[in-house]
Symmetry: C2
Subunit: 258 residues, 2 copies
């Protein structure tokens, strides 16, 4: 029996998850989704494959989750059934039928993340602190713009990755399509899109740029670190809870004809 290949565009509040990836003794997004999928398939195990492994505390507005289901499950029927059974902090916003060779991680051509930084007094409220990094000192807008601009294009990101988490022969190269600090009520959002991201990469970048924007490190630090061989001079990663995986992009050829 051929299985249907379905993409579930998934949102979650990462606050009460030990990240995306299944773990034996921790509550994870993948674990919760697979419990529901197995139940819908009469106890048969079903894998939920994510486009990216978000860390503990990281949110998602559009994680790409691929599943293979018996053909009686249309995307819309699956979406409704899952939303009625999933816990309140996970939500399938959309579902699409994909081609048989679609793979949620390998087929992705781009990912977009957003990182919220709060700079006003209200940023410390429990309602915003769940989703933003509240910082005490004002940020230099020109410094933010300069550091973000230096990210554009293809670079080696050894300085912005957790050491020894990529394969030994990994080139650590990423192509940044978009990087900008956008002002908003009460603070900023750092928007960044790339073909791929290394482990902790956005959080390393934000931590370092905030140090520059608060005058603790000189301007041009990002450009200098982009040629560094490791992360020894990089600022510690910004907190996980400010980060959200906004969108995963797939080629139109991955979507099945309707």
């Amino acid at each position: 029996m051929d299985l249907r290949s379905i993409l579930l565009v998934t949102q979650y509040d990462g606050g009460e998850f030990a990240g995306w990836q299944r773990q034996p003794d921790a509550r994870t997004v993948q674990g919760e989704m697979e419990v529901v999928l197995n139940r819908l398939c009469g106890g048969n195990p079903v894998s939920a494959v994510g486009a990216g492994r978000t860390d503990a505390g990281v949110h998602a507005h559009g994680q790409g989750v691929g599943v293979r289901m018996p053909p009686s499950w249309t995307p819309d029927r699956l979406r409704r059934a899952m939303n009625s059974l999933l816990p309140r902090d996970i939500w399938v916003a959309a579902a699409h039928e994909m081609t048989p060779d679609f793979h949620p991680r390998r087929s992705a051509t781009a990912r977009r993340y957003g990182y919220l930084v709060g700079t006003d007094e209200g940023a410390w409220s429990p309602f915003r602190r769940r989703y933003e990094w509240a910082v005490r000192h004002p940020l230099d807008a020109t410094a933010l713009a300069e550091e973000a601009a230096s990210l554009m294009g293809e670079h080696t990101f050894r300085a912005f990755a957790v050491a020894h988490t990529a394969p030994v022969d990994d080139h650590h190269r990423c192509v940044i399509h978009h990087a900008a600090w956008v002002p908003r009520d009460g603070g900023w959002v750092f928007e960044v899109a790339a073909n791929r991201f290394l482990h902790h990469m956005v959080r390393f970048l934000v931590g370092t740029m905030i140090d520059v924007a608060q005058g603790r490190r000189p301007r041009g630090t990002i450009a200098r670190l982009l040629v560094a061989p490791d992360n020894r001079e990089t600022t510690a990663p910004a907190p996980a809870h400010g980060l959200s995986l906004q969108q995963v992009t797939y080629p139109v050829t991955c979507y099945a004809q309707c």
Copy 2:
């Protein structure tokens, strides 16, 4: 040694609390605040007295919390010390020195609550579902306005209270100063202010008004229930997580001269 009477205007995300009131085996807001206060007082027990006992899941943007502290603790010093020690989901937004006879519950002249209802597709996202009641069917704006208007003034709220939670001789009378459904992006907020509220009162009112606004109960239901002897014909309470205690009002004479 005379103790200082201090009002802590406190915010919390109720999602991970078993309500305001201290309980031996559950995480509560009062319990967490008292742990921090005791630590600041070198292990001496300090009570945190709330203006109202919010239920499990109910949020607060302005709970009134009264404490008595040794005179070395100015309000501002106490606020800073508490915010550095409290968990991320509690935040003291302001602190004021009060007169010696101030009592956070008995001195309050008004409380204001807000209840969020979401009516668009996005209301189901995990980021909004934590703070809003997402409802499936559209709401009749005229019905909402009529039902809310009938609440204004002094009434007996036996139909909108949990049975047997008030003292036997309680008159169940409350004076409603303000009651209105205000449209907002993606839904509505029900705003209500009164001299006092009974247990589950706002949630009973919202549950019943949503039934009217979705055509399941006739218009005028609120007015009819305001003369009912008990809650047997009242709609079940709306979910706790849509509710927030917005503000507690005290007479200016309760605030100590600066």
